[in-house]
Amino acid sequence: MVSGMVDLSVKIGDITLANPVTPASGAFSWEYNDVIDLNRLGGLVAKTICREPRLGNPTPRMAETEAGIIQSIGLPGKGIEYFIDHIVPEYARFTPPLIVSCSSDNIEEFALLTEELAACPDVDVIEANISCPTRNLTGQNFAMHEDYTRDAVKAIKDKCAGKPLWVKLSPNAGDIVSIAKAAEDAGADCLVIANTFLSLKIRTDNFRPALGNKFGGLVSPALKPIVLRMVYQVAKQVKIPIIGIGGVTKAEDVVEYMLAGASAVGIGYAGFRNPTALVQIIDDLEAWCNERGIKKVTDLIGAVKDDDMEMDPLVTASHGV
């Protein structure tokens, strides 16, 4: 690895990340410090917290599928008070900015929760998870609808006390671009694209759903091309930065998301598969940039070459493989 040449830092609004690699909410906790050096990460992203204590969903909460896993956790947690008193301090020991994901299915409660978090000095960013597909049985959430998104984001933004608000969108929405624009209009400072795909597995041995909650969110490297398409479409239509989440397993995937228009990425699955993956991806990304003489990783953002595509099939078919 050639080192010390490329500048890996990216700015998401006023927040500077030392590099564009962050964990995805719910797939990370300070406990990973047992295995990796958390100070290497672009950011620390806490698991989505709800205002009241929640036990979460029935077990089993995970099942393997043909190519990936479905999971349904149901946002368990000990509530906002415990979180601020006991969990924020765990993260505060480390240097990267702390992004706290939070959620509610009630706008007023969401606003209250935001207010409480914003008042906590160690919280650098509020990430509104308006897209968890498994917090209730129907899979519905604000991010499925343009109007709900706008209303929720407005109410939350009001209570951020000037702290940046990132909004996590759903890949289950039909028109991601309209929803992204609604979130931007309502004051989101960054869009996190995307949460998990609402899914079902039925066991053929006992004819029962494989998960205790019936539905679960599908997580798989296979899904990257879908989410990448969403990031690409949204990036063409909004001005705020985007964090791409879905199927990143290697440095080239970070590059691909950035080319499509993301400023950074979030990683879940890959860190489960290889607990040291995030650190390795940062190292590999640095090496990748240095090998190509890329001086600032931000040069990659939106750099896809898509403006001179040949649309005559008779011409393109005669190009080499």
């Binding site: 406990e31 047992d34 050096d37 995970m62 397993t249 290697k250 489960f272 598969r273 290889n274 493989v321």
Partner: protein, 289 residues
Amino acid sequence: MALESCEKYTDTALRPGDADRYPDRLAGEFLGLVVSNDWVNKEYKHLVLKVHDRALKAYAGQFFHLLCPTPDGAEVWMRRPMSVYRVDKPKGQIEFLYKCEGRGTRGMGMLAAGDEFNIAGPLGKGFHLDPAWKNIVVLGRGVGLATLAPLSQLAAENKVGVTAILSARNPDVVMSKDLFDGLGAKTITVLDTDKSSEVANVEKVIEGLISDRKADAFFTCGSSRLLKLMQQLGKKHGIPGQVAMEQIMVCGVGACYVCMRTFEIDGVKTLKRVCRDGPVFDMQQAVGW
């Protein structure tokens, strides 16, 4: 003309002998080198891995999270948790005893000497030996014995006497007897074939040990039926106990809240993470295995 490859996944794990940038970390990701992987009977295999020093920190009751090779050309997507069966510090080796059953463990069964095997750990809270205990009773069945076996090593190191009751379907699948024997434990085998494994008989055996003051603490793993028996006897005689639990896992480090089990503490039911709050728990708090 070359198209991009679609290779996935970086592999970053520490190999035996690699310099360790973070020697103080409790756990890590390692590429173990397979020393041997042999059948111990028709269902179970025994894997010996040469590993990086950091992996040797594992102690009894802890587990590793294993990235199994594929048995069938398609990928195995999630790691598999597996108790440490034995740590051999002088040789720099750790060992696993496992049942070849599903995709992951069958993939594991394909490992051959010289292969690399990606393991993460050691993870979780292991067994605890109170210095006041002179004699403990270990009761296990099936694969649960793989988890309990390293207790014999721990006990030997702490000069604690062990009686190990090994329950099995038939004499062919009794496991770990040699390991317990070799470390000075007294072993009692109970079998389905001669009905000696029935709860009533096991109860008699344990009551005998209690009378003989050979039961300062109970340890079990692998059977709800046996857990219940030990809970009853523990409560009756005021004997403390520990149980190693299992649950489907994702992260293995305490982040994802997939591996929940129910526990009852002072009459209140709650959920705990098997991977980080356990896998070893206070026996009386466990609600079913």
